[in-house]
């Protein structure tokens, strides 16, 4: 057991650069006529972007205007939704739920994922099977018993109920994903750290954790975005207005007798901003994250 045994490690994210094709030698796969890329992409982008433009338009133009450009621009709708329709409070609650779910999911899934990746233990297969089966248990169908459990725990109307429920339903996939990432880190690296005097925990923290960055980003952002977006748990478990989250607020705006379209649009923009920021940040990690950890063998 010496350091020599530690095999040289190639970080998972590093890729061999694609071989360069001397242009003109052959008509390669990547030399598709340009119009065959830009035309379908352009059409699809219209489909993607017009809805975004439409909500922005309604959020920024005055009520009653039918102009197709948001001019004269007004922030009245945002002001109204944030202050009169309590979106300021909803926003705080949603951030709290999102961040707490992110932290809990990542921590619990990291511990479980490490056990699945590094140990053989008796109930491992059964546990994996349970993880997988839980993918088919829909949270929406467990609303009633979950409500009763939280009522029993005196947690109705507390954000804790939503955080717990969101975390539980994020866990299985997060754990599978993280365990795949941990498997990609050679065990010999950790062993080398132990020889150098680390215990298992510090060895993990110093050696493995930095290499898990794409996996942690993928899992963490999933947990945040899901809990930020999810609607039914909050609708069911939180009755007090000052405890509700943004999706519930949006639903309230939508189900009003006469919908205030400007307020709805402004509320929608407020709901979108954090996830759009998260998305812009993780976009490039997402592809590598998935191809390294998700659907492998």
């Amino acid at each position: 057991m010496s350091i020599k045994e530690a095999t040289p490690v190639v970080p998972a994210a590093r890729r061999t650069p694609p071989p360069s094709h001397p242009s003109g030698r052959h008509r390669a796969w990547d030399e598709v006529p340009r119009w065959q890329i830009y035309l379908p992409l352009g059409i699809y982008l219209l489909f993607t972007l017009i809805p975004f433009y439409w909500i922005l338009l309604f959020a920024l133009r005055p009520s009653g205007s039918t102009s197709l450009v948001p001019w004269p621009m007004t922030f009245d709708h945002f002001d109204k939704v944030w202050n009169e329709r309590s979106f300021g409070t909803y926003f705080q609650n949603s951030v709290l739920v999102g961040v707490a779910t992110l932290l809990m999911t990542t921590l619990v899934a990291l511990a479980g994922g490490y056990a699945l990746a590094r140990f053989d233990f008796k109930i491992k297969r059964a546990f994996m099977l349970a993880l997988l089966c839980s993918q088919f248990v829909p949270g929406a169908l467990l609303l009633v018993p979950l409500f009763e459990i939280f009522a029993e725990l005196q947690m109705i109307n507390s954000l804790g109920s939503v955080i717990l429920a969101e975390t539980v339903f994020q866990l299985p996939l997060s754990m599978i994903l993280l365990s795949n990432f941990i498997k990609n880190v050679p065990y010999s690296l950790e062993e080398a750290a132990w020889v150098d005097g680390c215990n298992r925990f510090t060895g993990f923290r110093i050696v493995v954790l930095p290499l898990l960055r794409p996996g942690l980003i993928a899992v963490g952002s999933f947990a945040f975005v899901h809990s930020w977006n999810h609607f039914l748990f909050a609708l069911m478990f939180l009755n007090n207005q000052d405890k509700q989250t943004i999706p519930v607020g949006l639903n309230t705006l939508m189900s009003a007798d006469s919908v205030d379209l400007g307020a709805l649009a402004a509320g929608g923009i407020i709901a979108a901003v954090p996830v759009v920021i998260v998305f812009a940040f993780i976009q490039k990690w997402l592809i590598t994250g998935f191809s390294a950890g998700a659907v492998k063998g």
Partner: protein
Amino acid sequence: MAQAAAVAKPPAPPRRRRASATPRRLPYLLIAPAALLMLGFIAYPVISVFYYSLQNYNPTKPWRNGYAGFDNFVHAFTDDPLFWDTLVFSAKWVFVEVGLQLLFGLALALIVNQTFVGRGLGRAMVFSPWAVSGVLTSAIWVLLYNSQTGMTRYLADMGIGSYGTSWLSDTSTVFPAAIVADLWRGVPFFAILILADLQSVSKDLYEAAEVDGASRIKQFWHITLPHLKDAIILSTLLRAVWEFNNVDLLYTLTGGGPAGETTTLPLYIANTSVDAHNFGYASALTTVAFVILLFCSMVYLRLSKFGGESK
């Protein structure tokens, strides 16, 4: 003799335990938080759903509560046409939605996998609806479908559709309208997963195919598609289950209407329990949904060969 044998033994056991710092309990300690959470908030609720499905249980009508045997199930299968309608609609919804998402997602992934100017921005924009919630998707499409001020008014100006009624409140247009809204958000999921899998196709294969003079379409059928097969099977099944279960979008976009036209089974269950407080009946319907999903899981497990040593 015994002494000699003992001496002949190597002085120190050569096999130190690889992870000497590891007590045998460690893996159990590590999975304990996850296992406890899942036992308490998934396994226990599932069992209680089975229990309630055999009960009359309605908090607003406590005098009728009690053991009901299979009455709830009998009622669902023989006496509740709405149940059958929701089953048929669920199948239609999942089939059309997943099929179209796969088709467009695959096409999109192949396009943005090419090298072209503006690829990064193109990808980011194409994928962006993925991050948007079901409720927000509803909000956006409510604005687009609004009969007075929506996009559909401009389409009516061009002779597509009619003024007056929103696409969402007309029984003849509500299905395609809801499908399009969910496609908007669902296509990026497939595009992202397939694009991720495309990263691992060996370039050599295409070069060899080039040398043999295979056309791009042939390359797609014989190299790309076989490579993507596993990813497509997995993501399609996961997505089908997800589309079946997810009620956010339909709940807020159409509420299952007009006239129950867009009610999936889970949406019907949610309405039965949230609005009608008929928990016993909702639990029986949930059990039926479980059986359907279990069937899907078995297909899924078979296809993915999951649980064995991966790789």
